[in-house]
């Protein structure tokens, strides 16, 4: 791997983050709990009371154990920043999360790859949300314009009684490259899971999304939502799966893919399954072009067509 000094690497990450529209103050001050990892090096690790962040550098990345102690309510968002500044490289994040009973945390992950030509970014996460705990996870990617990146986020999540897992994965800046997203959640009694993926595919981007929710406890609820916009020769396949296996479980799969142009390809495969007669799971999947009436509505206010489409796409991916 390319050799950088820690200070230079850190400044490079901050600069790239700011250039991508992020607020660099969150990475510059100690006021926010955070973890910053460049390639396989931990550049910053600032936990706070009730939140432990244990790390171990590996040959190709970092192993992270994030523990939110029982009853801890983390008052401000915790920032995780992963990235790779050189054009080539591999970053593997092994993540273990233990959000203990009745804890609450809001985690924002920034994944920054501004120069990627041949980069692989993998995350394998094993996440457990305790009883009554709330975990909000937002992962936003900032890619460059080369599209030479492969992003492979995988997670297994278990949400215990009355717990809440909400995650949003957003990749709308720069080229996606190749995305292979696979999140699987098991919800126990009265637990809630909401998975959302948003991506804007362009060029030759190749997007594969799998969102799986098993509603195994009575009264569990789940939403698998995806919003994709595809242009140029981008292609995407979205598989939203929800299984209602317990009484009064309620699940919904909501997939929308918009194709802008004639060469992009979109596929949606919603799978809904019920094994309990008191469970209910529904789905809606829409694939189509950007609604002409929406475009004309904005054009009638003076926006030119490209700007109108841009506003609509940004709205869908927000």
């Amino acid at each position: 791997m390319t050799s950088y000094s820690v200070e230079k690497e850190y400044q490079g990450m901050i600069d790239a983050y700011e250039k991508a529209g992020g607020d660099k103050r969150v990475l510059e001050t100690k006021d926010f709990a955070k973890l910053v990892v460049h390639e396989n090096r931990v550049l910053a690790n600032d936990p706070i009371k009730g939140l432990k962040i244990d790390t171990e550098e590996t040959k190709s990345g970092v192993s992270v154990k994030l523990t939110v102690e029982k009853g801890t309510k983390v008052p401000r968002p915790v920032h995780l920043c992963f990235g790779l500044l050189p054009k080539e490289g591999l970053q593997e994040i092994i993540m273990k999360v233990d959000a203990q009973d009745n804890s609450e945390i809001n985690v924002i992950a920034h994944c920054i790859f501004p120069n990627a030509v041949k980069v692989i970014h993998k995350m394998d996460a094993d996440i457990e949300i305790g009883a009554g705990a709330r975990f909000d996870y937002k992962e936003t990617h900032y890619h460059g314009d080369d599209g030479g990146i492969e992003v492979i986020p995988k997670a297994k999540v278990k949400v215990n009684k009355g717990g809440l897992w909400q995650s949003t994965f957003a990749l709308s800046q720069g080229m996606v490259g190749k995305l292979d997203y696979d999140f699987e959640v098991v919800c126990l009694e009265k637990a809630i899971a909401e998975l959302t993926v948003k991506a804007y595919g362009k060029g030759n981007d190749d997007i594969k999304v799998v969102e799986k929710i098993h509603l195994n406890g009575a009264g569990a609820r789940g939403l698998a939502k995806s919003r994709l916009v595809l242009g140029d020769k981008a292609k995407a396949e979205v598989r939203g799966e929800t299984y209602g296996n317990a009484p009064y479980a309620r699940g919904h799969v909501d997939c929308m893919e918009l194709v802008n142009g004639t060469e992009a390809i979109a596929r949606a495969i919603p799978i809904v399954s019920v094994t309990n007669d008191k469970a209910k799971v529904t789905h809606e999947a829409a694939i189509g072009s950007i609604d002409r009436k929406q475009v004309e509505t904005l054009m009638a206010r003076g926006l030119d067509e490209d700007k109108a489409v841009d506003v609509i796409v940004k709205g869908i991916l927000r």
């Binding site: 009436k293 929406q294 004309e296 509505t297 009638a300 206010r301 869908i316 927000r318």
Partner: protein, 244 residues
């Protein structure tokens, strides 16, 4: 301000709009009153250039300029806008952002002042604190979306606002507010082409034209036109056959 002469639209060999002529003066509220299916929304689309409608004959000029070949954006940038009978919903766009997007000639009309945006919502009977941050999505009722559409037109301060059935989906409590908003917009300098099937709505116009089978069959003061409409159109056994 707006001159439409002998406009014609044929779709799949069928004449939808025929020999349609109209003149809207600067500062005028001009009503077009017609039953369902007479071509009211088609006229709105032709003037705005929406829905891919292009006249097969005739001429449209706005402030002396032929607008037939202009895009929707170009017409809007010249000061024409349209409030749809059933406005589109735009996921992820808030009411605040939608109102701010209103522009003319590429320049923001609004100064982004919260007070200014709130005033437009109040003019159409919506409580700003409840609506300004909401998304323009399926959670809004038809009536709410309709009033936000009107607020957006007010925010644009157009030279000519085409309002297609502004009262549809509006409850009787909100209707007077909406009509007051149209009159207020007119007082602020906007001309209005008020397309409706309601005599009550047409009352606020300065002149009202009666539309039948895609053609204007008479124009006059609102009371006189409404009476004629009531006596002839509402009881007409020859729907869309103006020769009768």
């Amino acid at each position: 301000m707006l001159d439409v002469a002998k406009l014609e639209l044929k779709l799949n060999g069928k004449t939808i709009i025929n020999d349609f002529s109209l003149h809207v003066d600067k500062g005028e509220i001009h009503g077009i009153l017609g039953e369902n299916g007479t071509g009211k929304t088609t006229i709105a689309n032709l003037i705005m250039g929406t829905n891919n409608y292009k006249p097969t004959a005739g001429k449209m000029t706005f402030e002396g300029e032929d607008i037939s070949g202009l895009s929707v954006s170009q017409r809007a940038q010249r000061g024409i806008t349209l409030a749809w009978q059933e406005p589109a919903r735009v996921e992820g766009l808030t009411v605040r952002e939608y109102l701010r997007l209103s522009s003319r000639n590429g320049e923001a009309v609004l100064n982004d002042s919260g007070d200014e945006l709130e005033r437009y919502l109040l003019m159409v009977g919506l409580e700003p604190v409840q609506y300004i941050g909401r998304d323009i999505d399926a959670t809004l009722s038809g009536g709410e979306r309709k009033r936000i559409e009107m607020a957006s037109v007010l925010a644009m301060r157009p030279k000519l606002a085409i309002l297609d059935e502004p009262d549809s989906g509006i409850d009787i409590v909100a209707l007077p507010l909406l009509l007051n908003g149209i009159v207020e917009m007119n007082k602020q300098g906007s001309s209005v082409l008020l397309i409706t099937h309601s005599e009550r709505v047409a009352e606020i116009a300065h002149r009202v034209s009666i539309l039948c089978a895609g053609t204007i069959i008479r124009t006059g003061p609102p009371a006189e036109s409404s009476q004629w409409f009531k006596n002839n159109c509402l009881t007409c056994p020859h729907i869309n056959e103006p020769a009768h």
